[in-house]
């Protein structure tokens, strides 16, 4: 658990982060969003003490981070930045081995770990281990950057615009991959982005920042239905709200008993995808099937639409 308590950063008279407090639960993804210059990156960099706070403190599992030597703290926290910062003179394997080597792991353990991570990120060790960063595509570099951050099995991963330099198609895939890996490893993640779609796609909770202040820290659905300030409402986009809300729920949430004809929709699809199917096929209802394909109910346009607004 990460507790951020009254964290502030001032440069002279300029306040970059103003009294921010929030808590990130074990294994959760907290996404910090806001316009550029809102203080997101500074907030993130105070967690691993790349920036020294002017006031406030950060607790990791109850331990004040200032009681841990700076470098030791950073060995325990994964860190991924937008350009990845891969070391150009080191191979992929050497890059990934950076923190384990600093920690003095033995060679065999490092080699095993590197191979494990390359497999996890769908990079064939035989092909990629000996390559240099400049020989990789943008998406591959991004994966190596995240693999490197996860090498020493950190319980916490900090990511600053980690998908910012990927094109939209690869970005979506990279986000899904990150989610899958996070669910598997249970790593706590704090991710900074200015992309609202990314925030809603990845975040268990979203922290909205503007002009150095934390405006709201809530679950995505709460952010949509109960925005704390006009700025939050504006940032999530009023026209997008119903669709974002639907994309946060699955067919399970709006399923009705009964039968319908046609190709079934899987129960794990989001309501947004289900609605898209209904519109495109010109049907008011479609059957719902479970993972094995067995019909278990039906879903209707009306039923979905009810979920696209705050429940009265």
């Amino acid at each position: 658990m990460i507790e951020i308590e009254h964290l502030s950063k001032r440069y002279g008279d300029n306040i970059v982060v103003d009294d921010v407090s929030f808590t990130i639960g074990e294994g959760e993804i907290a996404v910090v969003v806001g316009t550029s210059g809102a203080g997101k990156s500074t907030l993130l960099r105070m967690i691993n003490r790349l920036v020294a706070p002017s006031a406030g403190r950060v607790l990791i599992d109850g331990q004040d981070t200032t009681t841990i030597p700076e470098d030791e703290l950073r060995h325990r926290i994964g860190y991924v930045i937008q350009g990845y910062g891969l070391f150009p003179h080191r191979t992929v394997a050497e890059n990934i081995a950076t923190v384990p080597r600093l920690l003095g792991w033995d060679k065999k353990r490092i080699a095993t770990r590197v191979e494990e991570l390359l497999d996890l990120f769908q990079l064939d060790p035989g092909e990629f281990a000996r390559k240099f960063p400049h020989q990789l595509s943008g998406g591959q570099q991004q994966r190596v950057g995240v693999a490197r951050a996860l090498a020493a099995k950190p319980a916490l991963l900090l990511m600053d615009e980690p998908f910012g330099s990927l094109d939209p198609v690869i970005r979506g895939k990279a986000q899904d991959d990150l989610l899958a890996i996070q669910r598997r490893l249970g790593t706590t993640i704090v991710l900074v982005t200015h992309d609202m779609n990314e925030a809603f796609h990845l975040g268990d909770r979203i922290a909205v920042m503007d002009q150095a202040r934390l405006l709201q820290y809530a679950k995505p659905a709460d952010l949509l239905t109960h925005p704390a300030e006009a700025f939050v409402e504006q940032l999530v986009g009023t026209a997008e709200r119903p669709f974002r809300l639907l994309s946060l729920m699955t067919v399970q949430d709006a399923m009705e008993p009964g039968h319908a004809d046609g190709e079934p929709i899987t129960v794990s699809a989001t309501l947004r995808d289900a609605l898209a199917q209904l519109i495109w096929r010109g049907r008011p209802v479609l059957p719902v099937a479970d993972a094995s394909g067995a019909p278990i109910g039906r879903i209707s346009v009306d039923g979905i639409l009810k979920h696209g607004r705050p429940l009265a």
């Binding site: 790349l50 470098d71 950073r74 930045i81 350009g83 150009p88 003179h89 923190v99």
Partner: protein
């Protein structure tokens, strides 16, 4: 239907080289004959400089190379032709000396003349061009250099050049030649080593502390603008004072003139390239790489040793290359103030109007700079690990 006809392809550089060869062969003397080492001499064309059969073979080979230069397209063929040419004219000029010198005459001197030098230049150009077209990797270039050095050593050790004036000058001074060679290398390499020891930390400091940067660079820039003779003059007073008042300095051989001021002058000239390149190398390390290294918990020392210096190393080496090539040439000047080195022969030769003595000092200097440039370029390429 277009017919594929083999067309005669005329290589542009090759044609110039062929022209150069023709000029050397038919319009310039191959060797110069002089009755003794300081009178002016008379030129001999290649046909008159060798026994008829030898001259014929040599001319045939040289013309063949010219033809290859103009027409051959494969770099390997061109390289082979150039090498063959060099392998023929270098021994030929040696044999020519024996042929032209009247039997029993020990005063007469024979030296390579403009025709020989033009041929050597033409073949060297052809070889360099072919090597460039071959795009040799660093190891290939080092191998080519070793082969050339080996061939040269073989030529000199075989005694084929012993009748040439240059080698007669050498034979008279063999002992001092090697002494001055050691002195030359010591001046050039020692001052370079000292400049690295001082310049690397200075470059690091000026990279880290922006306030220092301008002061250091401007100070060193001013040093660069001082002509070497003036710098020697400036150094005479303080070093003379040091020698007179500090017994240790005098015991180390430090005096107002001699090797000490030469060493210090070379050292001062070397500082700017080392400092400037260290700084440039460090500042071209991408910011996100430094940020990532910090974020992963590399200590400042680990960042410097594992990330910044390795990434800056090729640029620093480029500075060291400048210094080495510059120092090998500049060390010649040391002889002006009694500092020794190959310059000794150059200035003696100028004093005696003995051009071959000048060459005895100048040729090794040029050869050393040339070899140093090739070796360091190869090392720089080898250290660019992972570069795009």
């Amino acid at each position: 239907m277009p017919t594929l006809r083999p067309t005669l392809h005329l290589d542009r550089l090759g044609s110039v080289i062929a022209g150069l060869i023709a000029l050397a062969l038919f319009a310039s003397p191959f060797v110069t004959y002089r009755a003794n080492r300081i009178v002016s001499g008379e030129g001999r064309l290649l046909v008159d400089a060798l026994p008829p059969a030898g001259a014929l073979v040599t001319i045939a080979v040289v013309l063949g190379v010219a033809l290859c230069a103009a027409l051959a397209r494969k770099p390997l063929v061109r390289l082979a032709a150039a090498s063959l040419g060099l392998c023929v004219i270098f021994p030929a000029v040696g044999f020519s000396a024996g042929f032209v010198t009247p039997a029993g005459n020990t005063f007469a001197r024979v030296s390579p003349a403009i025709g020989f030098w033009l041929l050597a230049l033409a073949f060297a150009l052809l070889a360099t061009d072919a090597l460039t077209r071959l795009r040799l990797g660093p190891w290939g270039r080092l191998a080519a250099l070793s082969i050339a050095a080996g061939a040269l050593a073989l030529l000199l050790l075989s005694g084929a050049w012993n009748d040439l004036s240059l080698m007669k000058e050498y034979a008279n001074r063999a002992e001092s030649f090697w002494r001055e060679a050691r002195q030359h290398l010591w001046l050039a390499l020692g001052s370079m080593g000292a400049a690295c020891l001082v310049g690397l930390p200075l470059g690091l400091a000026s990279h880290r502390v922006p306030a220092l940067r301008n002061a250091i660079l401007q100070g060193l820039g001013i040093v660069q603008t001082i002509p070497s003779i003036a710098l020697f003059g400036i150094l005479i007073a303080p070093l003379g004072y040091l020698a007179a008042n500090v017994p240790l300095a005098a015991a180390l051989g430090i005096r107002g003139i001699g090797a000490a001021p030469a060493f210090i002058a070379l050292f001062l000239y070397s500082l700017l390239p080392v400092v400037a390149n260290t700084m440039a190398g460090l500042s071209q390390v991408p910011a996100d790489v430094i940020e990532a290294a910090r974020g992963m918990g590399l200590s400042p020392r680990q960042r410097l040793a594992q990330i910044e210096l390795p990434l800056a190393f090729p640029v620093i080496l480029a500075g060291i290359r400048i210094v080495l090539v510059q120092n090998l040439g500049l060390a010649t000047i040391a002889a002006l103030i009694g500092g020794g080195g190959f310059g000794t022969f150059v200035f003696q030769g100028i004093g005696q109007t003995a051009i071959d003595l000048v060459l005895l000092g100048a040729i090794p200097t040029v050869a050393l700079s040339f070899a140093a440039a090739i070796i360091l370029d190869a090392i720089i390429d080898l250290t660019r690990r992972g570069a795009a």
